[in-house]
C-alpha cells in the first residue's frame, strides 16, 4: 500500500496518484479487488445525436441567412425550418431513446398530421380547415389500423392496444366538441373515428371484460 505524504492517507494499490490531491505516489500499480472498471464515456448514439443536432442547426441558420440576404425578410426559409422540425418529430425520438415500434409509429403519424396542418395553413390560411376535418381523421384511423395489424401480428402489446382504442375514442370526442364550438357543425370524419373507438372499446368490454377493466383500473387509479 502506498502513502500520500500530502494527504496523510494510504492509497489503493491500483492507483499511481492520490485520488484526493493528485500527487504521485507510485509508478507501479497492482491489481486491487476494490478497483472499478475503466470507462469509455462517449457512446456512438450520443455522438450521432450531437452531429445530427449540429447539422440541423447549421442548415437552418444557413438557409435563414441566405433568405435574409436575398429577400431582406424570413419567408421561404420557414419551410426548411418546419421540414427539419418534422424530421426530428418523426425520427428524433429514436436517436435519443431506445426504439419502440408503437411509440415510433405514434410520433410518425403526429408528424404527418403536423405536415397536413402546415400545408393547410400555407395554402388557404385555414379558411377551409380540411386538415382538421378530413386529413387528421384519416391519419388517425390509419394509425389505429396499422397498430391493430402490428398488435395481432405480434404476441405482446394487447393491453397497450386496448388503451390506444380508448384514447382514440376520447380524442375523437374532444375533436367533435372542438368542431361544434369552432365550426358550428359536426364533422363526420371525427364521428367515424369516435365510432371506431367506441365500437372496439364496447367489443373489448364485452369479450375481454376482466382484462379491459383491469387495464383501465390500473392506468386510471387515483
Amino acid at each position: 500500500m502506498n502513502r500520500c505524504r500530502r494527504c496523510g492517507v494510504e492509497v489503493d494499490d491500483n492507483l499511481g496518484n492520490c485520488p484526493l490531491c493528485g500527487a504521485f505516489v507510485s509508478d507501479k500499480t497492482e491489481f486491487s479487488k476494490y478497483e472499478y472498471p475503466q470507462i469509455n464515456f462517449k457512446t456512438k448514439r450520443q455522438l450521432f445525436f450531437k452531429i445530427s443536432m449540429f447539422i440541423s442547426i447549421f442548415v437552418i441558420a444557413l438557409v435563414a441567412a441566405i433568405n435574409l440576404a436575398v429577400n431582406h425578410t424570413i419567408s421561404w426559409s420557414l419551410h426548411v425550418l418546419f421540414g427539419v422540425a418534422l424530421v426530428w418529430l418523426a425520427v428524433g425520438r429514436s436517436t435519443i431513446k431506445r426504439f419502440n415500434a408503437r411509440k415510433h409509429l405514434a410520433w410518425d403519424f403526429c408528424a404527418v398530421i403536423a405536415l397536413l396542418f402546415y400545408i393547410n395553413i400555407w395554402t388557404s390560411k385555414f379558411s377551409n380547415p380540411w386538415a382538421f376535418t378530413l386529413g387528421a381523421p384519416i391519419v388517425v384511423l390509419t394509425w389505429a389500423t396499422v397498430l391493430e395489424i402490428l398488435t395481432f401480428s405480434h404476441k405482446g402489446g394487447r393491453s397497450d392496444y386496448q388503451i390506444a382504442l380508448t384514447k382514440l375514442f376520447v380524442l375523437s370526442a374532444i375533436c367533435i366538441a372542438i368542431s361544434f364550438i369552432w365550426l358550428k357543425k359536426c364533422e363526420w370524419g371525427w364521428i367515424v373515428c369516435a365510432a371506431r373507438g367506441f365500437v372496439d372499446a364496447l367489443a373489448l368490454s364485452f369479450f375481454a371484460k376482466d382484462r379491459y377493466f383491469s387495464e383501465l383500473k390500473k392506468r386510471l387509479h387515483i
Partner: protein, 424 residues
C-alpha cells in the same frame, strides 16, 4: 402472469416513491447502490443462479415502472432479471422505459453491486436484498450456514407486511405536520463533470478507531462523521469569502422502521436537516450543536409529523385528480423549492451490516454509494462490516475538494484511512 404475492399484476407506488419518477431529469434518476466486495473473484454463472433463486422472495423488486394517467404504477415482470458486467460509472442512468427492471445486479472483479431506482425500495430494503443474494451466492460457492439471523431466506414466502406501504399505515393526522419552509443552504462552488460522469472516492478505516475517536468527542460515530462533514463544508465557505454567508445544512436520512415497527421492503425512510450557522466555530462546538440536534429533534413526534406531511400532500384531492403531467410540473417545482437546493450535502449511514459468521471468509466489505443528485454535487455515505467502515463520496464535481478536506480531518484525528477511487 399474476404475482402470487399480490394476487394482481400491478401495484401503486408508496408515498415516498412518487416523487422520484416525476422529478427525475437527464442528469438525475434517483439510483443508489449497495455493493459487496468478496475475497474471491465473482463467478457470473453462480451469481445468475443466486439471483434466479432469490428474486421471487422479493416481489417488490420484480417489477417495471409504468405510466398511468394520474400516477405511475409498478407492473409485475414475468422474465427473470439478468446480471450485467459493470461497464459504466456507479449509479449510471437507468432506463425507465416501462419494459425493463428498475434495479440491476452488476459484477466486476470482486464486487457485486445492486443498483436500484429509489421508488422500489430504500437503503434498508436494498441491503436486505443484497444480503439475501450474497448469502445464496456464498451457499452455492460451498458455504454452510447454520443461523441466518435477520437474513431473509430465499425459500420462505414473502409476507404481506413486507410489501405494505407503511406510510399509509402510520398516518395520524391529529399529530400535525412539519413546516417545510427553510432558507437556502450553502453549496460548494465547483465545476461540474459532464453528464453521466460520477466520481466515487472511498475511504476505508477500522471501525474500532472511528468509534474510539467519536467517543473521545462524546458522540456517536454517526454524529462524528456528520460533524466532520459539516466542519469541512463550513470551513470551505469561510475560505471562499463570500459576501453572503448561508447556513450549512446536512441532510441525514432516518430509518423510520426504528420508531414505527415495520418490516416493509419498500420505502419507509424520512430525513432530518441538521443546520450549522455560518460563523467560525471549532470542531468541538459543531459536535455539540449537531449532537444536540440529532438527539433532541429526531423523536417519534418529529417522525410522525414527517409521515403526516408526506401523506397529507399525497391525499390532497386536488393533487389526486390532476393528470400526471401536471403533477410532474408541481413535483419538480416543489423538489426545487423544498428539496436539494436547501441542502449543502447529504450523509446517509447504513450502519453496521451483520451477516452470519460463516460469511466472514467470503466477504471483505460492504459499500454504499448514492448516485448523482439533481442540484447537489456531493453526497457522503457510510457502511460498516466486520470491523471495517467504508466512507464513500460520490460527486458530480470535478475536484475532490470535500473528500480531501474530510479525510485530512480523519487522519488528523488519528484514523488510518485507505482511499480508492473509480477515476485514475
Amino acid at each position: 402472469m399474476k404475482n402470487a404475492m399480490f394476487d394482481k399484476e400491478w401495484f401503486k407506488l408508496d408515498n415516498a416513491a412518487k416523487i422520484y419518477p416525476a422529478a427525475r431529469s437527464s442528469r438525475w434518476n434517483a439510483v443508489f447502490r449497495m455493493a459487496v466486495v468478496l475475497k474471491e473473484e465473482v463467478r457470473p454463472d453462480i451469481l445468475q443462479q443466486a439471483l434466479d433463486d432469490v428474486i421471487d422472495r422479493f416481489p417488490t423488486f420484480r417489477v417495471t415502472l409504468k405510466k398511468g394517467f394520474f400516477w405511475y404504477y409498478f407492473q409485475y415482470i414475468n422474465e427473470k432479471p439478468k446480471i450485467q458486467e459493470e461497464k459504466d460509472c456507479p449509479c449510471s442512468m437507468m432506463r425507465l422505459s416501462g419494459r425493463g427492471y428498475v434495479f440491476r445486479v452488476l459484477y466486476h472483479s470482486h464486487r457485486i453491486s445492486v443498483e436500484v431506482f429509489h421508488s422500489i425500495t430504500d437503503g434498508t430494503g436494498n441491503i436486505t436484498f443484497l444480503k439475501t443474494l450474497v448469502t445464496r451466492y456464498c451457499e452455492l460457492c460451498g458455504a454452510t450456514i447454520k443461523d441466518y439471523g435477520d437474513i431473509l431466506h430465499f425459500e420462505d414466502d414473502p409476507t404481506p407486511e413486507e410489501v405494505e406501504d407503511s406510510f399509509a399505515r402510520y398516518i395520524d393526522k391529529s399529530k400535525g405536520t412539519l413546516p417545510r419552509a427553510e432558507a437556502k443552504a450553502y453549496q460548494i462552488k465547483c465545476q461540474r463533470e459532464k453528464r453521466g460522469v460520477l466520481n466515487v472516492t472511498q475511504g476505508s478505516m477500522p471501525f474500532e478507531q472511528l468509534h474510539k475517536v467519536a467517543k473521545s468527542f462524546g458522540c456517536t460515530v454517526n454524529t462524528y462523521l456528520t460533524s466532520v462533514l459539516a466542519y469541512v463544508v463550513l470551513n470551505r465557505q469561510l475560505y471562499e469569502k463570500r459576501s453572503k454567508k448561508r447556513p450549512v445544512r446536512i441532510q441525514v436520512p432516518i430509518n423510520l422502521r426504528k420508531m414505527f415497527p415495520s418490516v416493509t421492503l419498500r420505502n419507509f425512510a424520512g430525513y432530518y436537516n441538521t443546520t450549522i450557522q455560518p460563523v467560525e466555530q471549532t470542531f468541538e462546538e459543531i459536535v455539540k450543536v449537531l449532537d444536540a440536534q440529532l438527539k433532541e429533534k429526531i423523536t417519534p413526534d418529529y417522525c410522525q409529523k414527517f409521515i403526516n406531511s408526506n401523506v397529507s400532500l399525497e391525499k390532497n384531492p386536488i393533487i389526486r385528480v390532476a393528470p400526471r403531467f401536471i403533477k410532474t410540473l408541481f413535483m419538480n417545482m416543489s423538489f426545487y423549492m423544498v428539496g436539494e437546493n436547501l441542502m449543502s450535502c447529504t450523509f446517509s449511514n447504513i450502519g453496521n451490516v451483520v451477516t452470519p459468521e460463516e460469511l466472514y471468509d467470503y466477504i471483505d466489505r460492504f459499500e454504499f454509494v448514492i448516485g448523482p443528485q439533481k442540484y447537489m454535487n456531493h453526497v457522503m455515505t457510510c457502511a460498516s462490516y466486520n470491523g471495517t467502515s467504508v466512507v464513500s463520496f460520490s460527486r458530480t464535481a470535478k475536484d475532490p475538494i470535500l473528500e480531501r478536506d474530510f479525510f485530512a480531518v480523519l487522519s488528523k484525528h488519528g484514523i488510518d484511512v485507505c482511499v480508492n477511487s473509480n477515476r485514475r
